[in-house]
Symmetry: C2
């Protein structure tokens, strides 16, 4: 089993990564604050892993809240179910929430923990590749609004992140691919050596080879932990983690949440960012093709959805969280392995890329 | 005009207190971060003061969100209206929210600011005595849940608090009284000299004498600022600010939000806490009578609502935010001018006080 620390002073916390991590109560219970525990999960994950988790918590007063599955339910209305469960069971400020699920469950549980009685502790047990390499680490929590993704939320760090790669055995292929999109992202934004490793090992990842998964997840978490430690609340460098996300969020908002998986939208968005970076003279056409090829080997989309127009992108991107005083900021690639956040780019090049890639 | 500072390191902020403060743009605009401003108010306050406030903000892009009036609307559903307004107007992370209203508007606006895009800045312009002396200062924000008051929220400090006592001219008498309950609270918990001043000057306050109001509001804010500076997130001493609130919240929850005003419920709750303190041997019967007399001169209730039983109190108080590992903690008076938070009290005395005061 591997271990990492997210270094945030008195809010530092460990990430445990390995095969079978969730069979070890010693990795979990030291991070539970008091007697009361509330497991938040969804109707897909609950039948698979809820009993396994509860078996580690025999000495605690445990309740569970089972949410409907999917990004379409990542909203304030569904969040109320968590508060209902906590209050009906009279959970107090010393309760510990545990997120057992993918990115949606993790983001919602973290936000519920941030808000319940003005803040309680929580633990992340991510069950998808995407949440294991990205959303469970770093303390971004929140829900969507019909007009924008993750528009309502908080920064709230977990007490610990417990990643068991065995849980990926039940993950649908499409979700595996979506998670690999975020893994590829780390190679692109800050780790060219990892990008090269991914080009050589993508087939192993797609075949769910345990060693390859543990390696890729550990390396992704390490890359993310470094960025988060440097800039917890995204006043600067942390925004590079959003490579492809501004385009991707526009896709998700346009289609309605849940049509495309988050990682699929990010994949297409990363190709759009790469092509814009190329057009601005930063990376080569050949590199764009390498990025596309790697994403395609992971069965990911490399074009926006059919029928989505440049205007659809621009109007949704105008409310992106990275917009400041009306200037659109984007994450672009200076090279493979080095991303920058900038509003200093030729807007006409963005229009050209949108026109070229939106196949109506 | 008087000025105070709430001393919280890099989150310190000023409180301006006086007659006519809201006619001075120089007190407001330095605390607005960028071009975008969203004023959140309610349908009672908007016709009275919204235009006056907007006149100070000619150089900004201003939107307003007008909420329905009352504690009954302090919930997540109503909060959505604020997010709708912000997103429809494409407000970004540099937006500044301004709360123009009483405690409900202030708590909801502050919570919206805490959550919008994971946190934006906000300014408090409280328009009731209660919000001027209490809820606008200290960064507690949130909404109610059907099973408990302020159960969903965040600590989020404003950039500034602007208190104009002229705005109190339009305040209904009942709201004036409710605010005075919180003023009396400061005398009881930490400022016996102020309690004596209040005994001498309660008639002036009830007659809305400007000098008396400015004095009492300033002194209350100073007392609160001291407590908050010592313990921002209520890990200890800050809980004394909740004198009467555990009983009071139970009354509000039992009756349904909005039946009794918050200050009215706190007034009855403070008498309950005082009687329990007396029964535990800390304050005298005469002092309890002095407290009751002062509250009665402010036209405030000194008994729980008719028909509310000891069991009603105990079952609601069991989910109070101050409960830790099943032990009920209460704010009690060691003397007039000194409160303590404790779970070390004889539970049978609480039962006796409840039995004695609940007139069924």
């Amino acid at each position: 089993m591997l271990e990492l620390t997210v270094d945030l002073g008195d809010r530092s916390y460990p990430i445990f990564i390995g095969s079978g991590t969730l069979s070890d109560a010693a990795k979990l219970t030291p991070y539970v604050r008091a007697k009361q525990v509330a497991i938040v999960t969804n109707e897909t994950v609950a039948p698979l892993y809820l009993d396994k988790l509860k078996a580690l918590l025999n000495d605690f007063d445990v309740i569970d809240v089972v949410l409907p599955d999917g990004e379409a339910f990542k909203n304030l209305q569904t969040l109320e179910a968590v508060f209902d469960g906590l209050l009906q069971a009279r959970h107090n400020r010393a309760t510990t929430l545990i997120a057992l699920g993918g990115g949606v469950v993790g983001d919602m549980t973290g936000f519920a923990a941030a808000c319940y009685q003005r803040g309680v502790e929580f633990i992340q047990i991510p069950t998808t590749v995407l949440s294991q390499v990205d959303s469970s680490v770093g303390g971004k929590t929140g829900v969507n609004h019909p007009l924008g993704k993750n528009m309502i939320g908080a920064f709230h760090q977990p007490n610990a992140v417990i990643i068991d790669t065995d849980l990926l055995a039940t993950l649908p292929d499409r979700e595996l691919s979506a998670g690999i999109a975020e893994i590829i992202k780390y190679g692109l934004i800050c780790d060219s050596e990892f990008f090269t490793w991914l080009q050589a090992n993508i087939a192993k990842l797609m075949a769910r080879d345990t060693d390859a998964l543990v390696y890729a997840i550990h390396r992704s978490c390490a890359d993310k932990a470094n960025v988060v430690a440097e800039d917890e609340k995204e006043s600067g460098i942390r925004a590079i983690l959003n490579l492809g996300h501004t385009f991707g969020h526009a896709i998700e908002t346009h289609l309605g949440y849940g049509e495309w998986l988050h990682g699929e939208a990010v994949a297409a968005g990363m190709v759009m960012a790469a092509r814009l970076s190329c057009r601005l003279g930063d990376i080569s056409r050949e590199q764009v093709e390498q990025i596309k090829a790697l994403l395609q080997q992971a069965n990911l989309p490399v074009l926006p959805p059919e029928g989505m127009t440049p205007d659809d992108f621009l109007s949704i991107m105008a409310v992106d969280k990275k917009v400041l005083d009306s200037r659109l900021r984007l994450v672009l690639l200076e090279q493979v392995g080095k991303a920058v956040v900038t509003s200093e780019f030729d807007r006409s090049k963005l229009d050209e890329v949108l026109a070229e890639m939106c196949v109506c």
